[in-house]
Amino acid sequence: MIIESIFYIIENFFNLIFGWIPDLPSIPDSIRVVVTNFFDIIFQGMGLLGVFFNLTLFKLVFVIILTCIIARETYQIIMWVLKKIPILNIQ
């Protein structure tokens, strides 16, 4: 219940902050189709990677690297915000 309340507050806060902005138009379907087709071609070819690599290990390495990068960027974002608050005096 406590965690659900926190999520509820965050979600409503997001809606409150961005509620006044009108909805921006979405990407045209033509562009969406082109990107999708491009990915289709790329990933059909990437299937051949499985011949030379252990795909399970490949995905695992990918996830670990991605997690590290995300964690680092998140940390930097948070620190960047905190440094803007003078009262905290974070250098």
Binding site: I3, E4, I10, E11, F14, L24, R32, F53, I70, I77
Partner: protein, 472 residues
């Protein structure tokens, strides 16, 4: 700004991806509509107010049949299994029927709907949109609900729906499986003035199911046909026989509006009662028909527990009185033990509900945030969608071992010149050669080592970057 972009680009899609791939449950918002009348008196599905532009098609219906014990409510409940055959529904035909669900259940655990489409004209129709389903839940009651049960406490989950294909006549379109949590969908009504409902716990669920609006009037909803007869079943629980008495009732109105599928289920703490029938179309209530189901609550009163095993004694038989006294004391401790057990269960469940979020909470949160951001930011959000698509595709990547290329032929002066010959290659056939497998394993060993050492190198650099102070 760069950091903010990185944040949006990396954090949000990854989280959404990580959570959504585990559970692709279609999320449905359900609304409580006070307009739907409380119909405690019925115990059936009611089809009313059909809209031509809607296909409301609960074509099959099934439940599992089991007698189970719910530790949360400390009560037995019954899960029944029934299904209905289907028939087409036509607006112009007033002599249609809905589906009777006899032998209905006392605690509603879940159901499965399968949706069909009926094409009036002999042609193939094509849909390009998923057949999502809208379900409305409302709670009908005349009294005050005991406890904190609210409308939004109804637990609803649609396990899946799909569409987007070409369907022929009467083709199967989609299937929904809906699950309910009985601990949430049951309530205790102690303030009802009607003695029939006093001290009775029951669940009340009104469904309104609607697929997406369909513009063609050639498509008719298909309803289920009555297939059941009145049944009376007995179940044996803890060496005692209990009787489940049920009776179906259905009301169908084709006059107008959207379909309302209403189900009300009861769990009674008394023996089977005979009550009247309720007609929501005419808002009338009549007695004399027994279509109300009931089930012995399977709970014993305090007096029954205390007097369990007590003998009939002659007034002068002192030893018998002593035995009875011993038995009563023993029963008392049994009762106390049960009480302590139920209190500890209550405390544990209370703490659990306080700190442990429900299964769907985090998924719902990130899905909701993702959808809100997608709607609000529009094309600015597209890079995030692309990234999510990339990660999803990468995660679903599978090994392709065959190449089939038909070649390229150049038509030149009535002669077809084969520029590139066809290529058909199946890597797996080579894997049957044992000597090749050895070489292949060496290649895999090398590539695996390459990946692992690359990862180690990345982590080492990553760690030195953090320890070295770059990320202050």
């Amino acid at each position: 700004m760069k950091k903010l972009f990185l944040f949006l680009f990396l954090i949000i899609p990854f989280n959404v991806f990580a959570l959504t791939i585990k559970d692709d449950t279609t999320q449905v918002h359900y609304i409580v509509d006070p307009e739907y009348p409380p119909i405690e008196q019925s115990s059936n599905f009611i089809f009313t107010n059909l809209t031509q532009n809607f296909m409301i098609t609960p074509i099959t219906y099934s439940l599992t049949s089991n007698i189970k014990f719910d530790s949360l409510t400390n009560k037995y409940y019954v899960e029944d299994s029934k299904s209905c055959t289907s028939r087409f529904y036509n607006y112009s035909n007033p002599n249609h029927t809905g589906c009777d669900f006899s032998n209905t259940f006392t605690v509603f655990r879940g159901l499965t709907f399968s949706t069909y489409i009926y094409n009036d004209s002999p042609q193939t129709i094509t849909t390009n949109v998923p057949y999502s389903v809208l379900i409305k839940l409302s709670k009908g009651n005349n009294g005050t609900w005991h406890g904190s049960l609210r409308e939004e406490d109804f637990s609803l989950k649609i396990n899946g729906s799909y569409g987007g294909s070409t369907f022929d006549l009467t083709d199967y379109i989609s299937s929904y499986s809906i699950e309910f949590d009985p601990s949430l969908n049951s309530a205790y009504n102690e303030s009802s003035q009607n003695p029939r409902y006093a001290n009775s716990a029951y669940i009340l669920l009104n469904f309104e199911m609607a697929t997406i609006p369909y513009n063609s009037q050639s498509f008719y909803p298909i309803f289920t046909l009555t297939t059941f007869d009145y049944t009376g079943e007995t179940v044996d629980i803890d060496d005692q026989t209990y009787q489940v008495v049920t009776s179906p009732k259905h009301i169908l109105d084709s006059s107008s509006g959207s379909v309302q599928v209403t189900h009300v289920s009861f769990l009674r703490d008394s023996l089977v009662e005979v009550v009247g029938t309720y007609d929501p179309l005419n808002d009338s209530y009549s007695s004399g028909m027994s279509y109300y189901e009931g089930l012995d609550y399977l709970t014993e009163t305090d007096e029954e527990i205390l007097s369990g095993g007590v003998e009939e004694c002659d007034s002068l038989d002192i030893s018998c009185h002593v035995r009875n006294l011993t038995k009563r004391v023993e029963n008392l401790f049994v009762r106390l033990g049960n009480l302590i057990h139920s209190i500890s269960d209550l405390i544990v469940n209370g703490i659990k509900s306080l700190f442990v979020p429900s299964e769907q909470t985090i998924t719902n949160f990130f899905s909701g945030m993702y959808n809100s951001a997608q709607k609000k930011f529009g094309l600015l959000f597209y890079p995030v969608e692309v990234f999510q698509d990339f990660v999803t595709r990468f995660q679903n990547l599978e090994r392709v071992s065959t190449i089939n290329y038909e070649g390229y032929t150049l038509p030149l002066l009535n002669n077809n010149i084969k520029i590139i010959p066809p290529i058909h290659f199946d890597f797996d056939t080579y894997l049957k050669d044992e000597s090749f497998i050895n070489y292949y394993n060496l290649i895999l060993l090398f590539t695996n080592s390459f990946l692992i050492f690359g990862l180690i190198r990345f982590l080492a650099n990553f760690e030195s970057a953090i320890i070295g102070g770059e990320d202050k």
